[in-house]
Symmetry: none
Subunit: 416 residues, 2 copies
Amino acid sequence: MNAEIIAVGSELLLGQIVNTNARFLSRQLAELGINVFYHTVVGDNPERLKSVIKIAEDRSDLIVFTGGLGPTKDDLTKETIARHLGKELVMDEQALESIELYFKRTDREMTENNKKQALVLEDAQVLPNEHGMAPGMISDNGGHVFMLLPGPPNEMEPMFLKHAFPALQSKLGTEDVIVSRVLHFFGIGEAMLETEIVDIIDAQSNPTIAPLASDGEVTLRLTAKHSQPNTAMMLMDETEAKILSRVGEFFYGYDDTSLMYELTKLIKENNMTISAAESLTGGMFQQEFTSIPGAGGLLKGGVVCYTNEVKAEVLKVRKETIDNDGVVSAQCAAELAENVASLTNSDIGISFTGVAGPDELEGNPVGTVYIGIWIKGNPVQTEKLNLGGTRAANRVRTVKYGCHFLIKALKESQSA
Amino acid sequence: MNAEIIAVGSELLLGQIVNTNARFLSRQLAELGINVFYHTVVGDNPERLKSVIKIAEDRSDLIVFTGGLGPTKDDLTKETIARHLGKELVMDEQALESIELYFKRTDREMTENNKKQALVLEDAQVLPNEHGMAPGMISDNGGHVFMLLPGPPNEMEPMFLKHAFPALQSKLGTEDVIVSRVLHFFGIGEAMLETEIVDIIDAQSNPTIAPLASDGEVTLRLTAKHSQPNTAMMLMDETEAKILSRVGEFFYGYDDTSLMYELTKLIKENNMTISAAESLTGGMFQQEFTSIPGAGGLLKGGVVCYTNEVKAEVLKVRKETIDNDGVVSAQCAAELAENVASLTNSDIGISFTGVAGPDELEGNPVGTVYIGIWIKGNPVQTEKLNLGGTRAANRVRTVKYGCHFLIKALKESQSA
């Protein structure tokens, strides 16, 4: 079954809102093993909507519409579809009742045009709306399934999960199960990663392998189909093992993870606490760390040492270091990491000092960064980066490299 | 000129990412007076991409493509368009040079498939990529303009603003000038703002007034059309004056500003320095502050005092305060603000302490926040917030309120 998702609403074409519904529905349909080949957005215009419906009928089996089910004149999705299919709109008594109840509950007055929302395509399966007024519907028309869903995500998403997903599942009968898995890599570029495994990608059709790069990271999505879930998983395991035998050193986690999440998990496992001294990153490491639910308790705190004065006065970087090595140096990073841990009495200290840009500093080009890592009982380590991006990108990458190096160091000290 | 935006990338159809590019481009094209009638998303598949191009040629004058310009085999946007238009792809020497430079600067090895990124449509106007490798291009083909842009927003957006926007402007020739202005408000909800000025919105067609709410802020976008730029500006000035006579107390700035930007501007004007003590915000204030270009020098640094231990040991909050008032208190916020300023020898100290959630703290419900503000020569001030959102939203709003209150306090101390 091939699907297309059509969002109806001029607010999308004006850029007032983002089409997050298409993302949600794409993920859901992928879980059902339905291929989504197109997303379309069209405005509140019956002629253009009609032309879009005709195009969709030529190329898709399942056509999912979002939006245009509201009470105003602009809302014309079901009217246009009814005309196109030659069907009547009929009053759905249950939907009408639930709309009346909604107004009673919220103590607001019901207007005549709200009744319009209870009209549904004759013969359609009605999908109740438990978070708003407009019901959804599924209409099966000789080869094409039309699904109409409301636009607001807080109405559409629960409706889809509770009512539309099982309805589609039973329509599909006993077909293949689709499972997917995302592998996360850091420290290798997309082109390099692909070069390393191009023969695996080319030889592979089940699972498929899709690379994606963003913000200095690369992910590979493996997607396998099989009538037996266990076999689908096994196919993915085999392909994953092949991939990791080539580029395993850059692999750090599965699915909805992040470097920061992996780091907090590891620190928790080690029963440790951490603190940070941040110069060029200005607090970004600690802010991201504390944004991970449950990680707050692991971070004692830290110092944003943007100026040399704070590096010297608060974090006690030695005068000789600042005078001789400069603040953009391995020596400064080392002292910052050790001293912030001792100031806050933490098991781990991490530091970031360098040149985010746009201007160079102490003769060091933009993108020169030193990261210091001190773990209780171990000598302090430092790493140097040469980043080549904008100020914002350099800060983001510096934090990611910090997580990456600290994860490595923690694993080494665990296995030592 | 009618436009269509086509995003190419299977990751969109799998729901891995959201098509924010369509939103950005829709807004920009609206500014130029170009109607966007369709958004389309298609996967990395040459046949389906070709069919989508044909459909777009039937209904749109300007066809903007995003994505598929990368180095991997999946990336086939320009190859497919070239074949469809019967054009050659030629090596753009400048783009190649900039790619080589990028690899040299970042100290990474260039692979053969990276060279592919420097190929452009013959006769195309090349749009330099200053934040990545793949150049964009504009190709004019008898009635249809094809624009190809890279997929990553951090490359696409600056490229569009700097190179594509002016190119389109000159293609459009001497039509009405469209000017727009964004007014930023903080401390008033969207519904309330709209209620206050609904009669102005209804009476108004030039400029149009479009409200938009996001992240606790509300903006109004005024857009005026006129053959004379001066007249268009005057029309906007008049409408703005009417609006600000009603809700001026919540207004804080124009266009691409932010509360943080306005704050850094004011601190610079006052020739002052600042430092911050951050508990629940975990470094977010300082991270945002230092992300504003040129603001780094104004922030001396500060302390992330996530634990009570760091509040007491590093920031010297008194034992009686912690024992009697608790850390979620006006007294604690006051001491944090004064002490962080004195620790770092700054003119301004700001502090954030409270309950981000998900759990309550010291019997205070989620969303209870105290902000402390100390400005040299003035008594310390505190403000209490009762926020009701998620952990992430509460942190973001806390930082915004901090900027808002500090801006107010600085203006008052200026005028005193």
